[in-house]
Symmetry: C2
Subunit: 331 residues, 2 copies
């Protein structure tokens, strides 16, 4: 398995990316290709001892910044680490690619470079998280902030295929994120989506309110990329706020500090449940290739986990199932 | 101070409403008018001993359910507890009104019955919460799910007036909830809002991402009612999930249970920080009266706190400041 990694992607690139790549190369049986300016990457690798042999650097002279306009930067910076990375996938030199860089640019570069799967109109970013009762997929969390109803319908179909063939769920339930459970609630767009999903052969169970998102009683939750992204970031913010408040309260007196010490395993388990870096990366579904998108704030652990996730996706070959599902659906 | 309360509003009405009203009547120096079917309310009050004298029941024969269509139910059920409540405010018989019932119906009944303040185009629901560094207002969290840019601009102006005159903040900062901080990010609507707020005399500091919402470094956060409501509900969901996970982890073995016991004050403090029932209610800004909207799931404590909040709002007389701000702004 060969995994391509954008060496320059993310707020803390290239240092955390290089660290994450080294950790992944040690832990997993992957061959990892890191893309970026060779001198910069070599200098970064030189800071580590015993760099594993299953790492290769591929040169790219340019870098797309986190704040650059996606379409413009992808078209202009032909030799950016992102474009070179996508080309590696296109030429079959790697089985999956990962970047924690500019999300919009990754979506754009992958769409232009790898093209979309047959029948797919727009790619969508899915996150898969463990809730209280199992796993839930949420799509889209930021690829498509002004979707048409059919885009969201296709997202549901893609996640249905993923849930059936990869997660081995029998009849995955699909719900629409809304501000109330009643059919009459929500914007005109949401009401139209509700009708479209109801009329489909998917196991559509209706609207879901945000408060029940983390119960994971639903397998697939559909929303537009703006709302999905906002919800995701607010969730992260709350988890961090909670952790800050916890520290503050624990440190208020010595008795609390002692009790807090004995509760450390509890806090660590909680942190693990809520920490995005445990999940590593989110698949960009719908492109003809395996693309994993990481959080811009990824640390080395998140990078390492995203490389693991990329390998799992490449192994699973979900794309042929997606193509079949989409073509079967339009009949 | 006279506070009107919808006796039939909320998922657990009338029992928790009556309990909350009794607690509030004992604790605060308010005269509380509870509206609803007299026989139902009398029966509920009869279950309590020593009901305080500063409570009055006003009869209303109908009830608007949580799932009913707002405009239709408000127009049809003239003698609903909600309409009768709004009429009490209109006739000056109470200084503020509160309902934990159907939010859309409350917005509609208040708008039709009390009318909007001069110059205001749409009312908006604001929540005020304590974050890590102070208080933040978020508007709108569900009154207006398909707003025009000018509605959101007016929400910002109303919250600016509230922050200046009630919260005594000198130059309140205003930010727009977006999926990135850069001006180029977001939907067309968001970009238009960004320009409108930039051109205004408000202390607009740009976009804010959801993850920084709870840092409370921003005084006022603007968003459309769909997103605001989704974000709010997801936040509640996470807080509950966190609490469930905490219990699960604590109960894993005896050592943890003992340590957890000594950490109880910590968990209680955290719960208080995150518990919506501490906040009680959110003001509907823009109507010509004082309307407080409660969470449908309100418990007796939330009802009691909402009655306190209603009294504070009535005392503060924010509306004259809003009218001045809106009229000054359009000049």
């Amino acid at each position: 398995m060969r995994i391509g990694v954008d060496g320059m992607g993310g707020d803390h690139a290239p240092s955390v990316v290089v660290k994450g790549v080294i950790d992944a190369a040690r832990e997993y049986d992957f061959y990892i290709v890191v893309v970026g300016p060779e001198d910069v990457l070599r200098k970064e690798f030189a800071r580590h001892r015993n760099v594993p042999k299953n790492i290769e650097i591929v040169h790219a002279s340019e870098v797309i910044g986190m704040d650059e306009l996606p379409v413009m930067s992808v078209r202009k910076k032909k030799d950016s680490s992102l474009n070179v990375l996508v080309n590696l996938a296109k030429e079959g030199k790697v089985d999956a690619i990962f970047s924690a860089g500019n999300t919009g640019a990754m979506v754009c570069a992958a769409t232009l470079g790898l093209r979309l799967l047959e029948g797919v109109e727009r790619p969508g970013i899915a996150i898969i998280f463990r809730g209280l009762e199992g796993t839930t997929m949420i799509i889209d969390v930021g690829a498509n902030i002004a979707p048409r109803p059919n885009h969201l319908l296709q997202y549901a179909i893609m996640c249905d295929a993923y849930s059936r063939y990869i997660l081995r769920k029998k009849n995955p339930s699909v719900a629409l994120l809304n501000i109330g459970e009643e059919e009459t609630k929500g914007t005109e767009f949401i009401k139209e989506m509700h009708q479209l999903l109801s009329a489909s052969s998917l196991n559509f169970v209706g609207n879901i309110e945000g408060r029940y998102l983390f119960d994971a009683k639903i397998d697939i939750v559909i929303c537009d990329g703006f709302i999905g992204n906002a919800v995701l970031k607010v969730s992260e913010g709350i988890a961090e706020t909670f952790s800050t408040l916890l520290k503050r309260e624990i440190n208020k007196n010595i008795l609390r500090r002692v009790a807090g010490f004995f509760c450390l395993p509890v806090f660590k388990a909680l942190k693990k449940d809520l920490d995005y870096s445990e999940y590593g990366g989110a698949p960009l579904l719908g492109v003809d290739g395996i693309c994993i998108i990481g959080h811009g704030r990824s640390n080395a652990k998140a990078i390492k986990n995203a490389i693991r996730v990329s390998g799992e996706f490449a192994k699973n070959q979900v794309n042929q199932h997606i193509v079949e599902a989409i073509s079967g659906f339009s009949k």
